[in-house]
Symmetry: C2
Subunit: 243 residues, 2 copies
DNA sequence: GGAATAGTGTCTGTAAGACAATATACT
DNA sequence: AGTATATTGTCTTACAGACACTATTCC
């Protein structure tokens, strides 16, 4: 039975290392991608893993995640990036070296430049979700589980929040916004119903009063993200609806 | 910049104490209650706080939460209790003594016996949510924030999951189930619409083919929880609907 | 019978599924 | 003109809000 120590007595409680791991998602080439780094050292040398690192003494987990995010993506301006805590993974044997508790986070970003491998990584690249979750690429530690949880978080949050706008650069067309849902959910939401829903949720998108045309077809109107956070009622994920 | 150590070198990374804190909810006297313990020692001696404790070396956070839950509630059979991870709180100064990271959990239980104060607590009791969130009872550490987050988790999960059944003892009437929503949301869902919704979600509740009558009025049919986990589409929270 | 509680019926408005029709670009 | 893409229109069904009505008990 562990009781709260009455004073600062480091020997009275078990000491853990605490890390952050990051599931960084983006949309590239119409597909949902996640950033992985290849480990250069044991354990799991050569295996792919989520980027992450230790929390410093003066940081909370979010600050550590922001720092790691900047390091891994090479981006200075992270204003457009959404970052949220996912869950904490604490199996006693998740790291064979020692007791490590990891606070996983999820980040969503519009298409980013190619990542730079950090000093502790042999390589770093964007992976398509199907390649990572297919089972052919076992990740280090318990990162397969973290990726699965992160993916489900992203997919479900697209239903009831406006986070899809974080995956596209402004200004964007409704077709681009729809492609976010298509990439994340695997099946596209019906075209007209999607437009109707997005435009009916107040503050989801705001018109920019400009159009753009890539190739043939009628030019598309451009929008930017509005102030709304939640979608109420939620956008229906194809397949969740009628029987 | 914190890099992963290559071997077991405890001096190469910052060491943290890791705890679990528990937001344990139940419904009593038609109101949503949370279990708090009164601290007997500094810091925050005399203040009320969430039950919790250190994670042992052989435990993950869930196992520690289960252990603390059993200790605090005095219950052996925790089968009917729902327990889930909430979030992790890691502000460097959240505990003035030392660096403590806490993995908060949420538990939902049907009406439990009065709690027993542990050896490290002066007292333990159920508090009505309004009394705790009103600001008149500042909790120890960052527990006000944890309670606020836990409460929002419970309220929102009632919308899209069948967790309400975890707050009532089986078999239960639909009126009892509705009172769970009334207590958690503050306003009652409309009577007939609630019945229609609950009965239309396949696997939410299953009839027991028995009735019960307390006092006057037509006897109520009895139900038990069904196998369904999610409510699709979600139950509408009063006020979230039409304008 | 009257009060109280449980359960049923039904009208209305909102919004999603499905799909047809129109608009405007490029070749 | 023909094709491709964006945008608009509309019919149908599902479902929530609101509220009236019936059923069955205790007093």
């Amino acid at each position: 039975m562990s009781k709260a120590p009455q004073g600062y007595d480091p020997s009275a409680y078990p000491a853990f290392a605490v890390t952050v791991d990051l599931g960084i998602f983006t949309i590239r080439d119409g597909a949902l991608k996640i950033l992985l780094v290849q480990r250069s050292d044991d354990p799991y040398a050569g295996a792919w893993a989520l980027p992450g690192g230790f929390i410093n003494p003066d940081e909370d987990s979010r600050a550590a995640a922001v720092r790691e995010l900047a390091e891994e993506t090479g981006l200075g301006q992270l204003d457009a990036v959404h970052l949220e805590q996912l869950a904490t993974y604490s199996d006693p044997h998740r790291d064979p070296r020692m007791r490590v508790v990891s606070v996983a986070h999820v980040a969503l970003a519009p298409d980013l430049p190619d990542p730079v491998a950090g000093s502790d990584a042999a390589d770093a690249r964007w992976w398509s979700i199907e390649d990572v979750t297919g089972g052919d690429l076992p990740l280090a530690f318990d990162h397969d589980q973290i990726v699965a949880d992160a993916l489900e978080r992203v997919r479900s949050k697209l239903e009831y929040t406006t986070l899809a706008t974080r995956f596209v650069a402004e200004p964007f067309t409704l077709a681009e916004l729809r492609s976010v849902y298509t990439a994340a959910w695997g099946t596209p939401p019906e075209l007209n119903n999607f437009r109707r829903k997005v435009l009916s949720v107040e503050g989801f998108v705001e018109p920019v009063d400009a159009t753009v045309s890539h190739g043939p077809g009628r030019p598309a109107m451009l929008y930017r993200a509005g102030p709304a956070i939640a979608i109420q009622p939620a956008m229906m994920r194809p397949g969740n609806g009628l029987k």
